[in-house]
Symmetry: C2
Subunit: 634 residues, 2 copies
């Protein structure tokens, strides 16, 4: 109340503003115009804009559209305790990412905020789907707690599909009642991507009950339904899905838009739909469209940017910056029901960007709630001080996040094939695609050192033995055909489950690569040419309580700890990116080809919703059949 009274008083010009940005042009999201004027800020909110034409005439009525009218505006400039000359510059509202999973940046919320802030992002809507698969409701609470008071607002959508399928072994299951409890929090905006479109249009009651709860709480419901069309799409929308971020053609997007969905145009590190969806930037359609990344990796954030990068790309493709900017500001706020975000107008949060031109859209300064938090591509220490929350302290309060590994030490024999048979089933990767193929080949289990032999070596020498080249490969591995082993180790509940299969196209000729990022359940995945290195790499991740590791010849070559749920580092984006680049170059040296991301490709190999074959904790899965299939058989 007192804040509001103060704001009103500053808006009237009775009291000084905290900050006045003077002499610039202000981008108006409601009309698409640039207005010349001074922007007054107080208590983190915009008090008012004083247009230059008002000042010039002294009547408040400098512009006259129809009949003139005597205005009762009280005149005089806004004055501030701080005044900043922004002549020649343009002021824009802070940018918002409408759909992201912050965990997938591999950064803690605080470090994520530091990475995106210099690019003008002042709010993101995140679906804590990844951490929820590891740590359930506690994981969501961790993300919410560790993002409080950050200079980037994190809003949350409640993960609708944890676990992704019944086949998988995740760390947690989220039922309707688990999600419902979160809707009381104002930062929780709704139910996240309804990935189970199949179940939704068949009236699955568990899904409908989650939808009903979100609707009752007056929240939004995000859809996720690639390629859905016609009557199936009608059913999906009638069920409650209000948006879609999976459109890969303008035709698909327009059908969804016409049927009432908001279209989230996705352009991130992995999925890039911007070019295909450029028609939606036109005047007729843009008002129901929102820009999103649906994940950006640290290097991409550092080197290319965040929402600013999408705006620049759209402008380079010939689209109006006025529309693109609105698709990352007011449209996002409108869809999510955020009434004081996405515009520079009285009462709105003072999230303000300074740019030199809408076309270039290089963010020069970022004010978050009226405070200078980034300048010339760098976060300002002052602006950040006292804002960022240390995850170290928080971690101990969230043991399911900070200590998410529950698996005994692994031995080479854990990766031994239990079955025998003439044939082996191989999961074939395709560069640049998430779809996999299935290949059936002669098993050739004999062309390697016996797993027993390996096990003995290990036990005898504490894994320090140098194995001769060509001898270390596990049974069935054929490096000349690019066929190696892949395994997923259940790591949430210490069940001892290890699924083993073969993969081709990954390229490794020696060693093993392990990761605790393995969609969606984030068990421990490892690919390698031999069981010893697979055990060494996996144990390195285990000892770090999560992360990435590379092992060769029985020794750890490198590792990146991701101790927050096995998903996120506590380091800065630059530090994470440096280590990632280092490890990727090691992986390339070990044979992983261009077109295959050594870690991301591995992560998606465990996602049992994309055809054809995937690997889970109990073995290979035929996605279309949603059933386990044997790795070796007659």
């Amino acid at each position: 109340m007192q804040n509001r009274k103060h704001l009103i008083s500053v808006a009237r010009g009775e009291q000084k503003a905290d900050l006045v940005l003077k002499g610039g042009r202000i981008f108006n999201v409601f009309t698409g115009e640039l207005e010349e004027g001074d922007l007054a800020i107080c208590d983190g909110r915009i008090a008012g804009i004083e247009r230059r034409d008002d000042l010039a005439t002294g009547t408040g009525c400098g512009e006259d559209l129809t009949a003139g009218k005597v205005c009762n505006a009280n005149m005089g400039h806004y004055e501030g305790f701080t005044e900043l000359d922004v002549s020649g510059k343009i002021l824009c509202p802070g940018l918002m990412d409408g759909h992201i999973h912050v965990e997938s940046s591999m950064l803690s919320p605080a470090e994520f905020a530091k990475a995106v802030l210099p690019h003008g992002t002042t709010a993101v809507v995140t679906d804590p789907h990844e951490i929820a698969n590891v740590a359930g409701a506690e994981g969501i609470r961790f993300m919410m707690e560790s993002s409080k008071n950050l200079p980037v607002d994190l809003y949350f959508m409640m993960p609708s599909c944890v676990p992704a399928t019944a086949l998988d072994e995740s760390g947690a299951e989220l039922k309707a009642a688990d999600l419902k409890a979160f809707y009381e929090d104002d930062r929780v905006l709704g139910l996240a991507e309804l990935m189970n479109a199949f179940g939704t249009v068949r009236g699955d009651e568990a899904i409908l009950s989650k939808i009903a709860d979100a609707e009752a709480a007056k929240k939004v419901i995000d859809g996720h339904a690639p390629d859905l069309a016609g009557k199936e799409l009608n059913a999906y929308i009638a069920a409650g899905a209000r948006s879609d971020h999976e459109c890969s053609t303008a035709y698909e997007a327009l059908e969804k838009l016409r049927k009432g969905q908001w279209i989230m145009i996705r352009e991130g590190t992995a999925a890039k739909n911007l070019n295909a969806l450029l028609p939606l930037f036109e005047d007729q359609y843009f008002a129901r469209c929102i820009l999103v990344t649906d994940d950006k990796h640290p290097g991409d954030l550092l080197n290319h940017g965040h929402m600013d990068d999408i705006i620049r790309k759209a402008v380079r493709a010939g689209k109006k910056p006025e529309n693109a900017i609105r698709m990352a500001t007011i449209n996002t706020a409108t869809y999510f029901g955020l009434k004081d975000r996405g515009a520079l107008a009285p009462g709105y949060t003072a999230d303000v960007l300074v740019v030199s031109s809408l076309e270039d859209f290089r963010v020069e300064k970022v004010f978050k709630a009226g405070r200078l938090v980034a300048e010339d591509g760098r976060v300002c220490a002052e602006g950040m001080s006292g804002l960022a929350v240390s995850t170290e302290n928080l971690g101990e309060a969230y043991p399911a996040v900070r200590h998410s590994f529950h698996v005994r030490e692994l031995r080479p024999e854990d990766f031994a094939l239990k079955e025998t048979g003439k044939w082996k089933r191989v999961l074939e990767l395709t560069p640049g695609e998430l779809l996999t193929k299935e290949r059936i080949l002669p098993s050739k289990l004999e062309n390697a050192a016996s797993p027993e032999g390996q096990g003995q070596n290990m036990a005898a020498s504490d894994m320090g033995i140098e194995t001769p080249d060509g001898k270390a490969v596990a049974p069935g591995v054929e490096t000349d055909l690019d066929i190696i082993k892949i395994a997923v180790i259940e790591r949430h509940k210490n069940t001892g489950h290890v699924g083993v299969g073969f993969v081709s196209g990954y390229g490794l000729t020696r060693g093993a690569i392990a990761s605790s990022i393995a969609h969606d359940s984030h068990n421990l995945i490892v690919a390698g040419t031999n069981d010893v290195d697979m055990a060494v790499a996996a144990n390195a991740v285990r000892e770090n309580e999560g992360g990435l590791a590379i092992a060769v010849d029985g020794a750890v070559l490198s590792s990146l700890p991701l101790p927050l749920g096995g998903l996120m580092s506590e380091l800065s984006a630059a530090a994470v990116e440096e280590e990632l680049l280092h490890m990727k170059s090691q992986a390339r040296a070990l044979g992983v080809p261009e077109g295959i991301d050594p870690f991301m490709t591995l992560a998606f190999t465990a996602l049992p919703v994309i055809p054809k074959l995937r690997i889970l904790t109990k073995g290979l899965v035929d996605v279309e059949a949603q059933a386990y299939v044997p790795t070796v058989f007659d």
Copy 2:
């Protein structure tokens, strides 16, 4: 849940729809396009639209914007238990009125619904400000209860200024706590027009507390600030006012729109801003604009229509019907946060209009929640059966509404002037304007029969005496100068307060006209040439427990009972209009000139927020001074 499952199943084409509207074109509010297709309805909601181009190609992908894509739509026509051929017709969403006070139609909610339904109105957002001034929270509850299950959805905004000013004597006062209790109801959308802009920008805590409650409940807050501009407007918007319906120039409207307010373009019986605001129908602005009436009288509704009339007017003025229609459908729904209103799309309420052309916009059929409720300008009895609520039964449960008169029988001497003096103060009316002027004239209290004489006559003859012409006028009345008496009788709490003044411009040469519609407190107002007729007319209203009455020569000439709060009839719009026309013609015969509405002008003469002079229960009020001033003085 079961309804939703059924809807989804019908949408998929697995089960028959209740109704399929076949062969028409469907107006898409999201894109402004007309789509050829069939509309399937079930359980009152839209299950889906099947586009004709989908049907033609059989692939669901008849139109190809960029790269073609194989659709997985299951094909085949929607089938319905009822199928209606609407070939050659256009289907539109039902229209919404974004700001109205239903009481001002003088009709009960049920009769109001019957009047607007044939014009395509399927929802209105009403501010029960009038009944609240009479019966407080009970009056609001009465409006909500008596509008349940009507074929027109009534949504409610909570009156923010009851009473309008501290000077007035209303039937109730509504504090923040009284309003807050209503926000739990889903039909309550927010806080109604913040008329006290003066108090708001000065940080009045009672107002800010009402605003804070509405914001905390995630509701909207309507503004009401004619002519406010510049920094004062910034302050008002920063305080929370999200819309404005008082703009009378495009310049004013654009300043408000640019500062983030939604602009309600008002075109009703009294206030007509459409022509001035036509620039806002352009593509750049219309998406933040909403059409409203802010009151229509029964005759206007019957003869010209409701929202359909505004759309037709805009089109005649050269504006795109696509924009105008969206300003009365999806825009209204968006502003008020009504997520399933204002569009023809899966999951939306099946409020569907059938028209032959967007330009003519003559509503031929109206479906409310999938049910045919009006056709060719008439309500369908079947569609209405079981829907309308009888106010007669409800009235007894709401005694403050049904029995709102608390005033003893009036006598001529109640209207006698208590003061003496050389001068009298006259409230001067101007045809076609709400503003009044003040005139000071010689009192001439001697030029009439003495009030005592009148009183004696009355007492002697039970008011049946025929008074000789020219003798019956009260002291100070000068019919040759068009100066008569006017009085307001407190009628809520039987305080016995009667304010007496003089009025010019009303035109009466004989008799008296009384009304219990007297903004905003709705006390009993009466204007007349003599105290006997004033008492007779006032008593006729009193006996009816509200309404209008005309008396001449000591006898009642005509009366229209408005027993619901003294504001609303229980008769149909046609019956009310017939009696109103009859009484208006009687008033004209008694001298009321064209340009003065015998009842509406009277009603506004008691509103102490419009300069210059008004009459309240304690006498004449100088609005600018917000103080009582004597009627007769030296």
